[in-house]
Symmetry: C2
Subunit: 341 residues, 2 copies
């Protein structure tokens, strides 16, 4: 008799349906192996008892959790939100559940979270960017947990990845800025240490300067945490200099939104007095005034494909080579000709 107080178990269902636990288990996991009549009886028992399989037991017996972990730097702004949403949708469609945790851009926290997720039996992991302690990669390999790198793409790295060329995309955007006659260009970047995307974006701007025959060390870079307020502060510093830049390229749209606010506060006209650009093309970019010139990233596509690739790896498919997604420069009102041109 099912004990009336604790949650029902396979046993209880089996007893109620008058079959063995094995049959119940099969009904739940490979219904085609059970005759229709029995199956109906079992399913009714399941229904009546309100039975839910015990996850721990199932995991232990089956060695699979159907859980995928994602470790992102932050959930607070929208940078990762859309891609993650698409990732989860695809996962959900394939019967997997997503576990998200965030690191606040702290490598130590990231390490903890990775271990926590692996300990919790994540079948696979979504990681942002490449740059982390190599020991973590060996740890994952040792534990047999596949991982996929996203939001970045490195041709030379064999690791599974779905991303885009941060450096090339930023170089292209910088090319557009330079083409507008800007020569005094500054950049507001996230901290580059441990953040390859940020570092690549700075490098991209340098690439563009160089290829135009401009002095690349003339590029002034302010590093700061991601955030609207930090973007405001950085922009204010920049524009109060003796010779302020005529274009400020930001490491992402959030910083750029902050820069725009600061410009407004300082009474500067954008793009009349100074041009501002972002990166990511999140919704924010369209809403701010003036609308932001930025790099469009196919976040949803990235999330979806990452899910597909990761599931394939989890299910034992041979690891695919990294995939590069194409980005495009979105020219909007925040970029104009350099003043005096």
């Amino acid at each position: 008799m099912p004990s009336s107080h604790s949650t029902p178990t396979l046993q209880d269902v089996a007893r109620k349906a008058g079959v063995s636990t094995a049959t119940v288990s099969r009904c739940l996991n490979s219904p085609e192996r059970v005759v229709a009549e029995t199956r109906t009886r079992v399913m009714e028992a399941v229904e009546q008892l309100g039975y839910t399989p015990n996850f721990g037991a199932r995991v232990m017996a089956a060695k699979r959790t159907f859980t995928i972990g994602a470790i992102v730097p932050t959930m607070e702004n929208a940078i990762f939100a859309r891609g993650l949403q698409a990732f989860q949708e695809e996962l959900h469609a394939r019967g997997y559940t997503l576990l998200v945790s965030s690191t606040a851009y702290d490598a130590r926290v990231e390490k903890e979270q990775i271990k926590a997720l692996v300990a919790r039996g994540a079948d696979g992991l979504l990681l942002i960017g490449y740059d982390r302690d190599p020991a973590l990669y060996s740890y994952l390999a040792q534990q047999g947990v596949p991982a996929i790198v996203t939001w970045a793409y490195a041709r030379h790295d064999a690791r599974a990845a779905i991303g885009f060329d941060n450096r090339g995309a930023m170089a292209q955007l910088a090319g557009a800025v330079i083409a507008q006659g800007h020569r005094r260009i500054a950049m507001i970047s996230a901290h580059q240490r441990g953040n390859d995307r940020a570092a690549d974006r700075v490098a991209g701007v340098r690439d563009a300067l160089r290829s135009q025959g401009l002095a690349e060390d003339s590029l002034q870079v302010i590093e700061t945490a991601y955030g609207i307020e930090t973007g405001e502060v950085a922009m204010t510093t920049l524009m109060r200099a003796r010779v302020p830049p005529t274009a400020v390229m930001c490491g992402n749209d959030v910083l750029a939104a902050g820069a725009l606010c600061a410009a407004a506060d300082l009474g500067l006209n954008v793009p009349g007095d100074v041009s501002v650009t972002g990166f990511d093309d999140i919704e924010l970019a369209r809403i701010v005034t003036p609308a932001l010139t930025t790099v469009h990233v196919p976040h949803r596509e990235m999330g979806r494909k990452a899910a597909q690739a990761l599931i394939a790896m989890v299910e034992g498919a041979p690891q695919e080579p990294p995939t590069e997604l194409t980005t495009s420069v979105q020219i909007r009102a925040s970029l104009g000709p350099a003043p005096g041109i």
Copy 2:
């Protein structure tokens, strides 16, 4: 001998340290019950083997997962992001891991996700709002999984909750709008069905109209999905009417941002031609032009307290009564006097 290929188990550690599995388990879970010397030996073995406890086994034996689930309507925009981030931070500090999933505002998906999280052994659940199939609440009760309702607060409901009075807050904001002389007020709301927050906000506006002796059925309400674009569409519809409203109150900041975009596209001046308000006071509200008048919600505080309360419940504390957090009306440039006043 530890099999060289599979991951090490408690057994392996015990063997290596020359103790029983019970002792190893105790070292890991209640170190003070083991003599220092033994403990050191065990910890060394753990270290050398790179042992990580098997989550499933642990869960099954201990009946606890130290995992909390959160089910939010969406991760795509920032409405829930900040609160969730705070929730996770507090959880993490207390040794719990957060599992997030989203429902796309679909009650069926929510049901699935709740079951999935319970099946995955979530010790407790964070839910948004009250409005859902009562069967779900009984299911949770039967499964013994405590849940806390957030982003809403209902005095009359005994359910554990940490939230704010959506209706009262919106009424207060509407009061401010009316005080500016607005009489033709329209509202852009999320779909109210299954979304008590949205419904309460509409009701709040009606309350305010009534208490000012205005005809509450004169309030025109457009329901739409949450999103910037949907906000734009709704605003366009509203402003193209023969007698357009002089103030448009939006169910949240995202819709309001869309409304502001639409106003700009239509060549309307805000607040000269029409005032716009939001709700939530997410970062967006400060960035848009003009800055948004909205209701400030203490998201981080809510997230933090929700974590504390939920953990207390999970750990067996008697259920606390619902907690109400205070909101405040944030007046910014998007609200001005009604035209012609």
